[in-house]
Structure formats: C-alpha cells, structure tokens
Amino acid sequence: MKNPVYTFEKLKFASFEFTCCEGCQLQLANREASLAEFFSLLDVRTFREISSEKHDDYDVAFVEGSISRSDEIERLLAIRRQAKTLVAFGTCACFGGVNSLKNRYPVEECIAEVYDGLPVESLPVRKISDIVKVDFSIPGCPVAKKEVEWIVVNLVTGSLATLPKYPVCVECKEQLNTCLFDLGEICLGPITRAGCDAVCTTGKTPCLGCRGPADDINFPAFLELVEKRGLSRRDLKEKLGFYNAFEAYPCP
C-alpha cells in the first residue's frame, strides 16, 4: 500500500465469531465516512458476515464472542494455530460478557427451560483467554470503532497499542456530565477502564463496566462510597455481575 510518505503492508486479516450477538463485528462496518480508508489497511482473508471469500492464510484474527460449545473450542484452537496475533474482540471475548449470566444456573436447567428437553449441547460460558493465549484485548459492548481504528493502525505500523489505564470517570468529567452518584445512582465509572468516551454516562445511564477494571483501582474505597451514600447492595451486585468483567472483585 502506498502513501505519499509512508509504505506499509496490509494486515492479512480474518474475523470470527462465537457465542455472541455479532454487534462488535458490525462496528467494523460503521463509521461509514472512513470505511474505505479503514479497509484499505486490511487484506480481508475471511469475514463471513460480509464476504463469501474464505482463505486460511491470515496473520491477524479478531475473535468475537465467548465459548459455550465443544465445536467452538475446536474452531478456536485452529484459529490460534494459524494466527500470529489473536485479538479478543469485545466484552464477550474478553470477559464472557452478558452470556455469563447463564452460568448462575446448571446447564441442564437452562436447556430444559428453553428447549423442552431436546438434547441441545451447551457448556458453561468461558472467555477466550480461558482456552487459548490472547495477544491483545479490545473490550467494549460493543467495541468503540474509533478505538479499533487506532489499534488497527498500530498493528499496521508495528507499534504497541495500549488501552487507557484510567477509569471512565476521567472521560465523563471531560464531558462536564453531572455525576450519577450525585443523582443517587450506582455507576461503575470510577472503577471501569476508559476508552468509550463515557458514552453511557453521557446518556445519563450508569456505567455497567463493559470494559472491565481500570489499572490499579481502589475497590474497597468504591464499596465504601456505595455504602456511605446508602445505595442498594443488591443493585451494586447486579451491576458488577452484568458483564462478568469484575470476576476478580467479588462484592461481599
């Protein structure tokens, strides 16, 4: 690919999906005004959702979704064998996502409730890194395309992209939003990794932590904040468990 100043190799790119809504892959087709430029960075080898081309000679694989069936494990292992860089793409891939809410019940009970006893296969939901090594994670439900564009450019230039270390609160304050705690709502903004432009809290909806914990969070202080304001412990648990992204921070 030629640019007046720089030359670069397109990424030999493939996109795959497992247990999910495919909303993250759909983001790759959004931001239409820059779509042609975005795809000019990629040599799309496989992307079933938008193309009938199927080739197995990719270097970079974006993997969306969580794992909940044995054939998915096989497919994922094959992708890992081929890909030089495997990217966990979206909250389901990074943390299990909302699908993990299923794990509160025995699998047999889920199947009996939904499939009238038909023998449908389903396993407890797992994130991608539970099965294979993940080289890079892009969280978000859905992922933020702007951030994805930046990461792809970094992959093309061979530099190391990093996610913001600071919490959503920083981006929310930048937008001069009223703090949702001051409106009497529990918001996971103080402990969740930024990079989403605080899109939920800007829409006056509490952060549910889809991007997972920020670096070096002070979880006890966060619990104290909820306690001090007299907010509901049940509500806190529901929010922390929503995407399974705060597994490492159990709520007492």
Binding site: E17, F18, T19, C20, C21, E22, G23, C24, Q25, L26, Q27, A29, N30, E32, A33, L35, A36, F39, V44, F47, R48, E49, I50, S51, S52, E53, K54, S68, R69, E72, G97, V98, N99, L101, K102, Y105, E109, C110, E113, V114, Y115, D116, L118, V120, S122, C141, P142, V199, C200, T202, G203, K204, T205, L208, D235, E238, K239, F242
Partner: protein, 424 residues
C-alpha cells in the same frame, strides 16, 4: 432429465449468524431441501430471570447486534404494560424515530452489503466498492444516516444507552436534531440511486403462497405495538401472541420454528407491506409502484424491494417526527414508576419482522419469567418450505448445480435472517 445433485452449504456467508443449506437430488427426484440453524444458544430467557426491570432492556438489547433498539423497546413496552407505566408523548416520538434509524441502518446493511453482491456477481461489498463505487457510496450514506438517527435518539447506534423503562434517560439534543433534518434532505438523492439500481435487477421469478404476519394499528405504518394481523385473516390483541406463533422445536435446528394457520408463515418487510401498504408515505407508495411491488406479493425475493420501499417511507416520516420533536418542549421525557407485579407482551416491528417480548414481574419489579420470539424464528419454517419449492422449480427449469446453489443462497439472504438473534 434424470440427474443427481448434492448441495451442502455450511455456515452460509453474508448473513448474521450460522446456518446451513442442504439440497439433495437423486435420479431427478428431490430427496431433501433443508434450512438448519446451527448457532450456539445463549439462553437469554434464563439470564433475565431475577433481574430488575430497569436493567432488563440493557440485557435484552444484547440479543442482537443489528436490531438492539428493537429488542430494548420490545422489553420496555412489555415491562411498561406489565407495570402500567405510561411514557410521555415526547419519549414515544423519540422511540419511533430511533426505530426508523435502526430500520434504515439494517435495511441498508442488508441491501448493499449482503444482497447486492449476489445481483452484481461479486463475493462481497469490498469488490463491489471497486466495480460500482457510486452505488456502494449511496448505500453507505443511507446506512450512516440510519446510524446517526439512532445515535442522536438513543446515545449510540448499537446497544442503545438512553431508552429506559418509563421513557428516556436523556432527551435528544435539538441542535443535533436540526442537523439530522439537513442530513436527510441531502441524502434523498442516495435513495434515488438505490431505487434506480434495484429497479433494474432481474428478481428471480418464484412464488409460494404463504401467510404473512405483522403488526397492524389501522392508522399508521406499524413499528411499535398494535394488533397482530395475518393475511389469512387472523387478528389478535398484542398480549394474545401465542396463537400467532405456536413455537416448536425441531431436531435439526437450534432455532425454533413457528406456525399459525398453515404449516409456515412469514414476517418482515414484505409481511408489513402486504398488511399495511395503504399506510405508507405517498412517496413510498410511488416507489413501490415503480418497483413493481403490489400487495399481496408472494415472491420472497421481493423482500429486498419491500425493504427499499420502507427506506423511502422512513426518510420522509423521520422528517415529520424530527419536526415534531423540534416543536416540543423536551423536558417531560420520563415517567417515574413504582415496581409492580404484572404480565404483558411488548410487540415491535424489528427490521426483520414482528418481535415479541413477554415479561412477568414480581412486586419488587424483578422479572420472574420471560419469553422472546424473534422474527427469524418465525421465518425459519417458511425458508425451509420455500427451499423445497424453489429446488423443485429449478430442477424443472433445468438449472445446473451452481445455479441452484446460488438461488438457494439468495433465497435465504432475501429473508435477511438474523440467526444469532433467533438463537437467543
């Protein structure tokens, strides 16, 4: 001519989710033509149990990455009806506009990214961008407009932020509404480009009579709530959705099948058009006439055209809705509510057809039982039956294996199946 033919398409491309097509012919006789969904089930009806009503739309929107607004609104409508909450009128107008944005985005994605390559003989939209840049650019401009409408009305184009039980958490910004109005005006020409392209296409000639089911309110082209109407004359109240669907499981598919008066029925743009064409915007009626779409149309390939006609309706109706919001004081947008035990259904017309969420709440406002019936689920049996009729017709017409395979793929794509959504 006695002939053999074996078509086995695993994980059909250019559709959302995983489905397989199989056609087997031996000695000139059709042995099998089937449509099987092999998507991994997620069990949303189980996940939602015990969750507080206010959180539920944020969970159910995650059923689908393309029609998340429809899912959020179906849950919200079910919960508001169960707990007797009346959202303010400005919130209702904003929600309808949000549906318009999602439908436009979804139809443009389907028409240009998924369906058009078949007609143009390319493997996908990227090569099409090189061979017919003007056409793809028109599609992208429409899709971008749809996404922008959704973003202005709900905070984000996928997985809405500000649609909540009781109304909206935040009103749309009037400056951005005004900009939307300008954007719609600019993009009507893209709609013209699309109509010209799809108007010249050779739509496969295939008809199989079936029953079309959609919402119907007797006053407007339906998107949110109303009666359930079928072209076979069945009419039910929204809560009485079970006789319209009669969901059942089959051994070869993880997505369920449904039926009403016949062995299968269809939902989607064609069903909405067949039941409600009189309520389209005059410009959309004109487009339908020009594109040769008349009710009751039994050619499933014409679903593409019905979607395009709906895009015309949406662009014009969105202008009216935006003007209405600009003329309204947008301070009353959310009705406070107390949790309450109740049961109700919320039905909306998602881009791919009628979507039902049925919810039961307890006194604390927690969901104790949920049932979600997805448009693609309602189309599975119809696709399956269509494939058999299409294979027979193609054999009679002496089509070769490759032609039959392409027709079968195009047939399934014309339903715009949302497979991961149907295996929720």
């Amino acid at each position: 001519m006695k002939r053999d033919c074996s078509i086995d398409i695993r994980h059909l491309t250019r559709v959302e989710g995983h489905g397989n097509i199989r056609i087997t012919v031996s000695g000139g006789k059709l042995l099998e033509a089937s449509w099987a969904v092999v998507e991994t089930p997620r069990f949303f009806e189980v996940m939602v149990k015990g969750m507080s009503a206010e959180r539920v739309p944020f969970l159910t929107s995650r059923i689908c990455g393309i029609c998340s607004i429809s899912h959020a609104l179906a849950s919200i409508r079910a919960l508001e009806r169960a707990m007797l909450i009346a959202p303010p009128p400005a919130a209702e107008t904003t929600r309808l506009l949000a549906m318009h944005g999602e439908t436009l985005q979804s139809h443009a994605l389907h028409l240009f990214f998924l369906a058009a390559p078949d007609f143009a003989g390319t493997s996908g939209v990227l090569p099409l961008l090189e061979s017919q840049p003007e056409l793809v650019r028109a599609g992208l401009r429409l899709k971008e407009l749809g996404n922008e409408i959704s973003t202005v009305t709900t905070g984000r184009c996928t997985h809405p932020v500000s649609l909540v039980v009781g109304g909206l958490s935040k009103a749309p910004d009037k400056i951005r509404l005004q900009q939307l109005l300008d954007m719609i005006g600019e993009r009507k020409s893209a709609l013209g480009t699309a109509c010209n392209f799809f108007g010249t296409l050779d739509i496969p000639r295939f008809e199989r009579e079936t029953e079309f089911i959609s919402l119907h309110n007797g006053a407007t082209y339906p998107f949110i709530g109303g009666d359930l109407l079928s072209t076979d004359g069945v009419r039910k109240e929204e809560n009485d959705y079970l006789p319209m669907t009669n969901e059942y499981v089959t051994e070869f598919s993880t997505s369920k099948f449904t039926r009403c008066s016949r062995e299968s029925s269809a939902a989607g743009a064609l069903a909405r058009f067949n039941n409600n064409s009189g309520f389209l915007h005059p410009e959309a009626k004109k487009a339908a006439q020009k594109l040769g779409l008349r009710p009751i149309c039994h050619n499933p390939f014409m679903c593409n055209i019905a979607q395009l006609v709906e895009c015309v309706h949406i662009l014009h109706d969105a202008e009216t809705l935006i003007q209405k919001l600009l003329d309204t004081d947008l301070t009353d947008i959310r009705t406070p509510f107390a949790p309450k035990a109740g049961t109700a259904t919320g039905a909306v017309e998602a881009p791919r057809g009628i979507l039902y969420h049925h919810m039961e709440t307890d006194e604390e406002g927690k969901v104790v039982k949920a049932d979600c019936i997805i448009p693609t689920t309602q189309n599975n049996a119809n696709i399956h039956n269509d494939l058999q009729a299409l294979a027979r017709q193609a054999l009679e017409e002496g089509k070769n294996d490759r032609e039959i395979e392409k027709l079968a793929e195009m047939l399934v794509r014309s339903y715009d199946p949302c497979i991961s959504c149907s295996v929720h």
